[in-house]
């Protein structure tokens, strides 16, 4: 084979490999969970209802063992995302079904409910302002928006119980234990506000801080506040 032909083949292989690597890299970087639009068709003065759930393990590709939040879209379908469009200056009523276990908090400061309307949440119908994470089943997760001063600890389920391990979990099923937490907050002006879980809940990762704790769509997300 001529030298020039060999060089052409090598160049083609190198270019193809580089192209594939770029494609995979860009696909990885550009992959984002979908955004649920709660702002569409919103009327001024009307509150927005959001239902979420926390599940100890997602149960699906690509990270079946990762802990995650799920969001119920306005059409009732559960979507694996933590990105929402919310109308500005609007009351948001949040309901979270917490299916995961709990533990004492690394920092009990986040046992304090902050930033909600009235400064409280309801836990299975009872008004709560502080959760003692050393009592009972401890705290499983939090819903926190630091830039808005919002923090809501989510009471855990007993780790000895059989917990829901594949999302979405059915809130109407009595098969798996869960706690229902409700609270409301007001959205500020237009902007993007990161939210997260503050419990280092990434099982299997050093100090529980990697994996789903660092991945949008699992335990982190954005409130995308928009004008309607």
């Amino acid at each position: 084979m001529a030298r020039s032909t060999r060089m052409l083949i090598v160049a083609a292989i190198v270019l193809t490999a580089a192209g594939l690597a770029t494609f995979v890299g860009m696909a990885f970087l550009r992959s984002n969970p979908p955004t649920i639009d709660f702002a569409a068709n919103h009327k001024a003065g009307q509150a927005v209802d959001i239902r979420l759930q926390t599940v100890g393990s997602y149960g699906h590709y690509p990270h079946p063992t990762w802990v995650t939040y799920m969001t119920q879209a306005p059409d009732g379908k559960w979507v694996h995302t933590t990105l929402w469009d919310l109308p500005a200056h609007t009351r948001i009523n949040v309901t979270i079904d917490q299916y995961d276990s709990g533990s004492p908090l690394r920092n009990q400061q986040i046992g304090q409910v902050e930033g909600t309307i009235g400064g409280y949440m309801t836990l299975n119908g009872k008004k709560v302002k502080v959760l003692d994470s050393y009592a009972g089943n401890g705290v499983g997760h939090t819903f926190s928006v630091p830039t808005l001063g919002i923090n809501v600890p989510l009471y855990g389920n007993s780790s000895s119980a059989t917990l829901c391990a594949v999302a979405p979990c059915s809130a109407t099923s009595s098969k798996y234990p869960h706690n229902t937490i409700k609270f409301s907050f007001m959205t500020p002006g237009v902007g993007q506000y990161p939210w997260q879980c503050f419990v280092p809940c990434a099982a299997g990762f050093l100090y529980g801080n990697s994996g789903p704790m660092q991945t949008i769509g699992y335990m982190d997300g954005f409130l995308k506040v928009v004008n309607t």
Binding site: P146, P200, A203, N209
Partner: protein, 338 residues
């Protein structure tokens, strides 16, 4: 430094006769321009301009720009940083302008159209012992002077707002120091006030005209507490009590940022603090203590550091296999220096 003096006596050290003979009143065969009158040393032409611009620039900067240099004068360490920056500018400006002006002179005076054959040896590349000596002496004096100045400015104001580790050697002279514990975690700052019952809050509020001891630590990875307008910056390391001092001198608000890349929401790890009057602070502390009392009773006993690897989601994921439900093991006791 090039020597442009074309006097024949200056050329004797070369490998051969000077270009074009080099005598007074002759025309150089190489340069093509008259060497009839020995050129004065370039520094003689530059010096008056340099002196005038240096003094004018320093005065203008000191009195016009200096008072407005960030981070302002909210604390002793912020004001100290401004003063240090201004002093360094005043020292640096004459040096910078001297180098620039000499470079401009060289570009103009020895440009190719004036020296077409670009001599690489002879009078144009010779050194000048006096200038070289002066350059070395002045540079040495400036560097040593800045070293002494910087050391004094670091030591005298008790670390100048920078962290000194758990055992500070430069401590403030004030007998009333307010300790505030700064706790970093992915991804927010909380503040604990040990002299007010140990409540922990997300708001950093401090009294005016008070010396503050920030005890900075972390519950997980390395963060960096950077209170910009306070002129305070300290790494937040897990299981380390990193102490930084400052004294508040003006009331106002300031921003706190994490200055150590710490994960996904590092860029969102910031909040705002306030310096308020002593009476307002006392009222705030009393009010906040009462508001947070329900949660404060569940906080662990105040310690300067907390062991971060023994607690978290459901336990058992951590390398030391410490029982996550043990309050004793969760928070490792460290020395108390209240």
């Amino acid at each position: 430094m090039a020597e442009s003096d074309a006097g024949a006596d200056q050329l004797a050290g070369g490998d051969g006769p000077p270009p074009g003979g080099g005598g007074a009143g002759e025309v150089s065969a190489v340069t093509g321009h008259s060497t009839g009158t020995p050129e004065s040393h370039p520094m003689r032409a530059i010096l008056p301009v340099w002196l005038l611009v240096s003094i004018a620039g320093d005065l203008l900067f000191w009195f016009l720009a200096g008072p407005h240099i960030p981070p302002g004068r909210m604390t002793s360490s912020a004001g100290g940083a401004v003063f240090d920056f201004n002093v360094l500018f005043v020292i640096a400006w004459p040096v910078v302008f001297g180098v620039w002006s000499y470079m401009a002179y060289a570009l103009w005076h020895w440009r190719a159209s004036r020296v077409p054959n670009d001599p690489v040896a002879g009078p144009y590349s010779r050194g000048h012992l006096g200038v070289q000596t002066a350059w070395i002496v002045v540079s040495t004096c400036i560097v040593i002077g800045v070293f002494i100045f910087g050391t004094v400015e670091l030591v005298v104001p008790s670390g100048a707002g920078s962290a000194e580790g758990p055992d500070p050697i430069w401590t403030p002279s004030s007998h009333t120091v307010l300790p505030i514990q700064v706790i970093g975690q992915q991804w927010k700052w909380t503040y604990r006030y040990p002299t007010f019952g140990g409540f922990e809050t997300t708001s950093l509020v401090i009294p005016d005209h008070t010396t503050i001891a920030f005890h900075v630590t972390s519950l997980d990875v390395i963060h960096d507490f950077w209170a910009y307008q306070l002129g305070v910056k300290a790494d937040a390391n897990p299981q380390q009590d990193n102490v930084a001092y400052t004294t508040t001198e003006e009331m106002g608000s300031f921003v706190v940022r994490c200055d150590e890349l710490c994960g996904l929401w590092h860029g969102a790890m910031f909040n705002y603090g306030r310096v308020i009057s002593k009476s307002a602070f006392a009222a705030w502390a009393k009010r906040t203590k009462a508001q947070l009392a329900a949660n404060t009773k569940y906080l662990p006993p105040f310690q300067w550091t907390y062991v971060p690897d023994a607690n978290g989601a459901d336990g058992g994921y951590y390398p030391d296999n410490v029982d996550p439900y043990s309050k004793v093991e969760i928070y490792g006791a460290q020395k108390v220096k209240l």
